[in-house]
């Protein structure tokens, strides 16, 4: 493999002399985007309508990708009105086949991308796809007693985890509990599959229909799962629910036993700071970043092409080195001004004028 890899590299290097200033990959990608190795694409090969506003997209990639771990997410890039947009979606399918994976998208009212993906993507469409990332995964070995708490589209990464467990370690589901909330039984994403799972494995499913029963509170959860404190818990859902759970685990449980996945960035701090002028030294682009405006957003509106992934401080794809000046973490107000420090441009604002290597 080492020798073959070396020969492959040399062959590509030699071919690049003939195609320069382009790379062979650019020509292949022009012919068929699926052949590009530097901009991995996937084709939508199937669509499953889960509920009125949620659709699962079945994606096929032409070559084996880095396999994901159940619970992780990928970046999905789509061209909307000519502009490439990237958003993050948890993988809802099993990791078994790295060339095929599914994401389950809920259309967010007023959202730029989710509505287009959920409602207006035809079979055969091409999307770009990033490498898997994320820490919302089960450890190995799997803890004895599992609890999952999900609401709405928060079920997606947990569905990936459950499907993987059924496939590889069904005994881990024995005695596991899933508390899943949605407005009505019909709106419950993956409802019938979850009910079938509960019927055929040792998984206990607690459905909560919030239209009738109201939102899930930590107390209601403790009532439904009395031994919650003895369990290792994975939770994903709206920010309000996750914040309440985190507070509850802080006060009455073991905060380390609670793992959360957030789809939306936590509310920014009240004092967004001063703002300032941000210069991206590699692309040479300078932009005004007003108070509370993320450096990434400011740079993008000035035409900078900045690396991005989750756009909320999770995936670390957007990191650049601080050259000079200071930045403020918009989530907690902390100011960082050590030159050479890594800065996540998606959640950092300018604290005065700042230079970032990107």
């Amino acid at each position: 493999m080492g020798v073959l890899g070396d020969i492959g590299r040399r062959a590509r290097g030699a071919a690049a002399l003939f195609t320069q200033p382009l790379l062979p990959d650019d020509l292949l990608g022009t012919l068929n985007p699926l052949w590009s190795a530097s901009e991995p694409h996937a084709r939508v090969v199937g669509l499953r309508r889960e509920t009125a506003d949620t659709t699962t997209l079945l994606l096929h990639t032409p070559r084996a990708r880095t396999p994901h771990r159940a619970g992780q997410f990928v970046g999905i890039g789509t061209r909307l009105d000519g502009v490439w947009q990237w958003r993050t979606y948890s993988v809802s399918s099993r990791p078994r086949d790295p060339r095929r994976l599914a994401v389950t998208v809920t259309a967010v009212p007023g959202g730029t991308v989710s509505g287009a993906l959920a409602h207006r993507t035809p079979v055969g469409a091409l999307v770009r796809i990033g490498p898997p990332a994320g820490e919302f995964v089960l450890p190995d070995p799997v803890p004895e007693k599992l609890l999952f708490v999900t609401a709405g589209s928060g079920i997606t990464p947990v569905m990936g985890i459950l499907r993987d467990l059924v496939d590889t370690r069904p005994h881990a589901l024995d005695g596991a509990v899933l508390v899943h909330c949605d407005r009505t039984p019909d709106e419950l994403v993956f409802g019938s599959e979850l009910r079938r799972l509960a019927a055929t494995t040792g998984l206990r499913l607690v459905e909560r229909h919030t239209a009738a029963e109201g939102r899930l509170t930590p107390d209601a959860l403790a009532d439904a799962v009395p031994d919650w404190a003895a369990r290792e818990t994975w939770a994903c859902g709206p920010a309000g629910l996750l914040d309440a759970l985190a507070g509850h685990w802080d006060r009455f449980g073991d905060p380390d036993a609670l793992h959360v996945e957030r789809f939306v960035a936590p509310a920014p701090v009240a004092d967004p700071g001063t703002g300032g002028r941000v210069t991206f030294t590699t692309s040479g682009i300078t932009a005004d970043a007003g108070p509370g405006v993320a450096l990434m957003a400011a740079g993008e509106s000035a035409g900078a092409l900045l690396p991005n992934g989750c756009r909320m401080g999770i995936c670390h794809t957007c990191v650049g080195k601080l050259r000079s000046g200071g930045v403020r973490d918009l989530r907690n107000g902390d100011v960082h001004d050590t030159p050479g420090q890594s800065v996540r441009t998606c959640v950092s604002g300018a604290a005065g004028d700042v230079e970032i290597e990107l």
Binding site: L17, F18, P21, L27, T30, E39, G82, V83, G303, L305
Partner: protein, 380 residues
Amino acid sequence: MPETPSAAAHLTDEQVEAIGAELDAIRAEVVDSLGEADARYIHRVIAAQRALEVGGRAALLFSKFPPAWIAGTAALSVAKILDNMEIGHNVLHGQWDWMRDPKIHSTTWEWDHATPAEAWKKTHNYEHHTFTNIRGKDRDLGYTIMRITPEQEWKPSNLVQPLTNFGLSLIFEWGIALYDLEFDKVKDGTKTREEAMADLKTFWRKSRKQFAKDFVLFPLLSGPGFLQTAAANLTANVVRNVWSHAVIFCGHFPDGTETFEEDRLDGETKGQWYIRQMLGSANLSGGKLFHLMTGNLSHQIEHHLFPDIPSNRYAEIAPKVREICKRYGLPYTTGSLPRQYGKVLRKITRLAFPGGGPKADVTPLPARPKPVGTPVRLAG
């Protein structure tokens, strides 16, 4: 030095700023309407260019066979022109950055040209587009090697400039590359020797590969057709050079375009900047295919007003800009390529000799409006 007033001298301060506001509105309208159709356009042009290049190179593997030589050379010439003009020049201006496509972006693009993209962005996007037609600042005015406005002092060496110009047109890409190294700035001390050496290294790395590809690698692939393929590649390069030289010289040098004094820059407002761009540029008339092959630099006026608006939109803006010019009594210089190029050649020939006035194309400060606010920073 006696100078004739500018074609914009009759405008009041308010009119100058009103023109600026109208042009800003045109720009905003185009930027707002960019979308899928534009993205498809540039993808199609890129795909066509790559197909022509691959097809041309493939045909030239059989370059000993004359029809293959002709077809291959023609395809490669067109590919090189498209690569430099409609694609490279415009992508490097950031015209397609709005698509946020890492492959078609001013920070990642490289072109089939001796000048490395980075060097070009500095001397062209920044220096030429900011200081358009300012004598002593806009190096594209060519004052380093030719006398192209009567303000420049005549030197005996100018006598050969029609020949210099012809020679330059043949090797235009190398001329630009050398000129982008800005050795003249080392002489006058505005550039350090180290900077110049670093630029020279980048240039050497890029141009060595360019040279090897056209004159060693592909000819070798053709086996017995080595010389024929090398000749075909040379021809394609020269065709591209002569063509782009003609188009580019017609953009700022024909009769009717003005040049400006350096102190015009002090406190120049956005409105005044726009007017300088309009008076300093000239268009070429022609059909759709012609515009494509000039990289839409046939819409030089619109390009200089809005250097970072996608080129496929200049044609629809042009009538609006022309109408503004008409309404405010400003010239809008345009004509066919042969006509405009004829004027350029006539001027270069005339200025090879001393004199050359009356300086009808020369602009001192027109009744200059008072600076409004801070000087604008200019994109692209």
